[in-house]
Amino acid sequence: MFYSPVITNGSEAAASDKLHLFKYVEDSEQYKLMTFESHGGYKAWKKVLTEMQPQQVIDEVKNSGLRGRGGAGFPTGMKWGFVPKDSSKPRYLCCNADESEPGTCKDRVLMERDPHGVIEGMAIGAYAIGCHTMFIYIRGEFNHCIDRMEQAVEEAYAKGHLGKNIHGSGYDLDMIVHTGGGAYICGEETALLNSLEGERGMSRIRPPFPAIEGLYACPTIVNNVESLAAVPHIINRGAEWYRTLGTEKSAGTKLFSLSGHVKRPGNYEVELGFSLKKLLYDPAYGGGILGDKKLKGVIPGGASTPFLTPEMIDVNLDYESLTAVGSMLGSGAVIVFDEDTCIVWVIQKLIQFFKHESCGKCTPCREGTGWLKQIIDRIEAGGGQPGDIEKIEEICGNILGRTICPLGDAAVMPIQSSIRLWREEWQYHIEHGKCMVKTEFPFK
């Protein structure tokens, strides 16, 4: 039984020998340990425990080219390698399951439908860095994920995949499921660590990086659910195989959460380098724009990434191609807007979110997002004033690159790109006190 009915390309994955994250995602029993094991689950974990040294695991993941799926795309193996080898302190691994960026809803599917895959990936990561207590920090509102993960952890302990002297290897590993307090910022890795420690969820300045001084000032690795879920497959089938997937610089597959004005919103696993156009229009994926309207724009990587216009969607979904067109792969949340969407309205929704979620620690983000929201609200309400666009641009400039954590950048990048791409629409809104395009939404 599935908790949440979400469209996936699970049947495609089941038939493919390349797609692996979603291979069993349509199997409603996959969350059970028995089913998971019957599909080869925990094989990689046993292999690691019995045949591999931690460094070999790190090397394997490094060679696979796996990059973090949480947003920043940092090479996972390299991050693991940063954990000091000679430190006498305990090390920790935290799986970041706080998934709260508007549009992103992929980790939740993995946790709900394949929780053991997440545990197995975490365990392998823990082993690689010499960690004996690992955490999964799950977004507080994800009740179903929390249930499933807790149940899976219980099963894993019962079956000896977790606990003391796992499978006779002498390796001890405990896992703690922690529910978050319901703040987007707690997905930012250092705020996540603060929150896990029982402190207010606010970002920490780096350096020190978590790999050196993280949870309780001990070396800590924070990885996204999807990043970790890919790891058992790399161990089972080898780094070489993984590299054959995707592009040279973006190896592997990636989950894209497609939402907005498309016919088939859902989660799709595709090889990196997949065509965005295909994802939007192919009947197997997005199936085209809702009501066969014209496309206005796309946010390709989550609410914090710059927009693409219809002319730009002939782009491949991988780290390097999206950077080349001035946007980012981010967390892989593709949000689609049709021609009848007022850009000011979109931005108003976004700034509302970022203003609300700013942790309040650093001045530019805390004060700047509030101010931006006030100005944008006023424009949307028809009270825009000459000079507002310039003011917005200047405020954005005073936030971008000047904050503690990337939330500040995330808040302003879509604004800046919307002004760059649709300036006349902003101008119209200010001058006429109303939207330039007729805004009709099936939802509010």
């Binding site: 609300h356 309040g360 620690k361 001045t363 509030g370």
Partner: protein, 854 residues
């Protein structure tokens, strides 16, 4: 703005880096931040959230600099200086960045500067003046934390007895929350909500009343946190400052007094940061204690007893009377029948004049400065007095790898050292061990807090020694030698006797053995114990066994502002031999008569062998164990002179009462617990007719037609004594530790009582400070939840505390951290005579507790 232009002095060879800031080549130790490197070299970078004693968080973003080869502006407070870095602190880009920050901060700031107490010393005012726009681009109504519809900018939220919060002015630098957590270990203040409605506030259901909370007001860069002490009293630019010292704790915490030309009163105290001593943090008792100086209750004129009643008199009348009666007593009974007790908070000159008067004018050795010790032994050569004389450096706590506290409720006795201990732990990863008869607030940072059975202090120490021997942690010969002395004690038996498990004793032993730099501190639970000699003998063995002094410091910490000076100047009945020799040399003689300490003088009063007594600044009735005993003694006297700031239980029964100046009213020098002599300057003129101690003693001497010498002569004599190395070495041989069985318990009295100081008070004077009494104004008892449950006592219940000799009724407080059966009661409130519960010959006072039905 915190100013950190002082360079850190360090003796170790450290790696350095050289960078360029604004064209200037600068070399600093590796690990220095760009901001510190700049400040240390006279290059000013504005900051809001940075604090020299807290970890950098990079929150305000005011300290931007431009670093070549880095695309973005960097926050200098959190950027480490690296070799070859080229930094610009004043480029157009940096200026623009700062201006933007000021603009952001001012968006919703109320700009109510004319009515703000921070005006004139506000970082926001100053930095806006320097770096801001003169125009606002913000055209919305400012958001406010005030009642709906109100146009006021005031948002006076009283978040503690002293502190008022105005959230509109807060710039969210988080310094208050960070200091509370990082430096003080307190969590009564926090940040709530998110984004631009984030607010600082007291923790839900709590008050900000921790014993260091005054610092939050001082470090707040704006007028968001103010205190009742200073609010709306005066504009800061009308005040002048005078350097002074804390007169309550023994650290010699450096302070500044603020006063105004036309009024003879002090307006507030702030820190005068001295990194060797206080890091710029003041305990509240230090900050608000000055209020006693201005108190309207101060004794105004001399009083003399006429027909059983104290009546006002002139100084001359009073002095004549003293001379007349003391001479009569001397003539009749010999001058050994006159004794004196001075407060260890008096300055060097007063204390020295006091001792010199007794010894050279009266020819009596009956002088002491200890009014709260029970059953003092004759002291010169005791292990106890040796331990008290050992050198100690506060700043050396910082980089100790082990901080070991034994027999001290450090927070209450030595708040400043308590903070240093926290710093060592939080900033330098020191391991803290606390061994006490009850759990104290230090427990939260302790690697291990071992609680021993009340009254088994020496067994706890023996146990650690035996554990080390058992675990082969110390050299064979040493182990053998001590084992012989301790025989037939065994580890299991000793563990049982003191109640610390063998495992814990082993952990403590290992910590001492493995430490490379140790700070070992004993406190009042040792010094005030009747068995202090036994306990310190055990400590001496411990020191020898682990070679502690060879790798750090071991001391029993002096308790009061000038206890250190009193010892160095010989203001006790039997001074250290070196001091005594020096005094003999200076004075050309030294009284031969038998010396008596406070306790033995009081006993002699009862036998009418001491008939005249001169008390200056002390209040033995309130502080000495066994109130009845003290009162009876004093009442038997022919003649009692008491000099103090306020009327007290002791002045009440005196034949002559003289108004005494506080430390703020004259220039004085004080020796802190490190032996460091420091100066507190006169900030105000003596209140009413009060006079400094030294002057009073000189005036009395003049009545004898003698002189103690001119000021310069006294100063030079004092200097000779201070220059003397009067520290006595700890024994170099192991000694047997007499096993003390507890005195017979009085039937039915079972709960051990500890008389302590309230964390906001010290001694008998601080209850005259309104700010301090706003935290606590009367006695209460503190017990753990277990005991409370068994006795069916709830928070706030009135409880009858009864000992075999007395009883008091106080409300109950339940402290979660106390686990064993003990009861603590503060002694600072004259309305509750706590010392009436104590018996001076008992090692442990035991009481019963029962709820009083109202």
């Amino acid at each position: 703005m915190a100013d950190d232009t002082r360079k850190k002095t360090t003796t170790k060879a450290v790696a350095t880096v050289t960078l360029t800031i604004d064209g200037k080549s600068i070399t600093v130790p590796k690990g220095t931040t760009v901001l510190e490197a700049a400040l240390q070299n006279g290059i000013h970078i504005p900051t809001f959230c940075w604090h020299p004693k807290l970890k950098s968080v990079g929150a305000c973003r005011m300290c931007y600099v431009e670093i070549e080869k880095m695309a973005k502006l960097q926050v200098s407070c959190a950027t480490e200086a690296v070799e070859g870095m080229v930094v610009h602190t004043d480029s157009d880009n940096v200026k623009q960045g700062r201006r933007a920050i000021i603009e952001f901060i001012l968006l919703n700031h109320p700009l109510d500067c004319p009515t703000c107490d921070k005006g004139g010393e506000c970082d926001l005012q100053n930095l806006t003046f320097e770096h801001g726009y003169d125009d606002s681009r913000f055209d919305f109504r400012k958001s406010r934390f005030v009642d709906e519809g109100s146009t006021s900018t005031f948002d006076d939220v009283r978040i503690g007895p002293e502190i008022v919060l105005n959230r509109n002015r807060c710039i969210l630098c988080y310094k208050c929350v960070r200091a509370n957590k990082e430096a003080f270990g307190e969590y009564d203040l926090g940040a709530y909500e998110r984004g631009n409605i984030t607010q600082i506030n007291s923790a839900p259901g709590e008050k900000v009343d921790n014993p260091f909370s005054g610092n939050l007001v001082e470090i707040c860069p704006v007028g968001a946190l103010t205190n009742s002490d200073w609010r709306y009293k005066i504009r800061v630019w009308l005040t002048k400052t005078t350097p002074s010292l804390c007169n309550f704790t023994s650290s010699g915490t450096n302070t500044l007094f603020y006063k105004e030309d036309h009024q003879n009163k002090i307006f507030r105290t702030t820190s005068r940061r001295n990194d060797d001593i206080d890091d710029g943090w003041l305990p509240d008792v230090t900050r608000y204690g000055y209020q006693i100086v201005n108190s309207p209750d101060r004794l105004r004129v001399p009083l003399i007893k006429k027909e059983g009643k104290q009546v006002e008199a002139t100084w001359d009348e009073a002095l004549d009377l003293i001379h007349k009666h003391f001479t009569e007593i001397s003539d009749k009974m010999g001058s050994v029948c006159i004794g004196g007790l001075a407060s260890p908070s008096l300055d060097n000159k007063s204390l020295y004049a006091f001792s010199k008067f007794f010894r050279t004018v009266l020819n009596s050795n009956n002088v002491d400065f200890r009014s709260d010790y029970r059953m003092l032994p004759p002291d010169a050569e005791t292990v106890f007095s040796r331990l008290c004389s050992r050198p100690f450096k506060i700043a050396d706590i910082d980089d100790s790898d082990v901080v070991f506290v034994f027999g001290s409720d450090l927070l209450r006795e030595h708040p400043n050292e308590y903070l240093r201990m926290r710093k060592a732990c939080n900033f330098n990863n020191a391991r803290v061990f606390v061994v006490n008869p009850y759990a104290t607030k230090a427990a939260d940072i302790a690697a291990l807090e071992a609680v021993y059975k009340v009254g088994s202090d020496e067994q706890a120490i023996n146990g650690i020694c035996l554990a080390a021997i058992d675990d082969n942690l110390v050299s064979g010969p040493k182990a053998k030698a001590l084992a012989e002395k301790l025989s037939p004690l065994t580890l299991p038996e000793t563990s049982k006797a003191c109640g610390i498990t063998v495992d814990d004793l082993r952990i403590l032993a290992r910590a001492l053995a493995e430490s490379r730099k140790i700070s070992f501190m004993c406190g009042e639970i040792v010094t005030r114990s009747k068995e202090r000699e036994t306990i310190t003998t055990a400590v001496s063995n411990l020191n020898l066994l682990f070679g502690l002094e060879n790798k750090g410091q071991v001391a029993s910490l002096a308790r009061y502002a000038n206890s250190g000076g009193a010892c160095k100047l010989g203001v006790q009945p039997s001074p250290a031999p070196a001091v005594k020799d020096k005094l003999k040399e200076i004075w050309g003689g030294y009284p031969e008569c038998e010396p008596h300490n406070t306790d033995s003088m009081l006993a002699l009063m009862k036998k009418e062998e001491v008939a005249g007594f001169f008390v200056i600044g002390a209040n033995p009735i309130m502080l000495h164990p066994d109130r009845q005993f003290v009162r009876e003694g004093l009442e038997k006297l022919d003649f009692l002179v008491a000099c103090d700031l306020f009327e007290s239980e002791t002045t009440e029964i005196a034949d002559v009462v003289l108004p005494l100046c506080s430390w703020a009213e004259y220039d004085g020098e004080y020796v802190n617990l490190e032996g460091r002599s420091q100066r507190a300057e006169r900030a105000v003129k003596p209140m009413f007719e009060s006079r400094p101690g030294c002057e009073i003693i000189k005036l009395i001497t003049a009545k004898y037609e003698k002189s103690l010498g001119e000021d310069e002569q006294l100063t030079s004599e004092i200097q000779q004594l201070l220059d003397l190395d009067s520290a006595l070495p700890l024994p170099t041989e192991f000694m047997a530790v007499k096993v003390v069985v507890e005195d017979k318990q009085d039937e039915g009295f079972e709960i051990p009582l500890f008389v302590t100081d309230d964390p906001h008070h010290c001694g008998h004077l601080t209850e005259k400070s309104p700010s301090l009494t706003s935290f606590a104004d009367d006695a209460y008892l503190e017990i753990g939840p277990d005991l409370a449950e068994r006795l069916k006592l709830k928070e706030g219940d009135n409880v009858r505390v009864e000992s075999p000799v007395g009883k008091v009724i106080v409300p109950a407080r339940i402290s979660e951290h106390i686990e064993n059966d003990v009861v603590l009661i503060p002694r600072n409130f004259s309305s509750t005579p706590i010392t009436s519960l104590l018996m001076r010959k008992k090692r442990i006072d035991r009481v019963t507790l029962s709820k009083v039905d109202s």
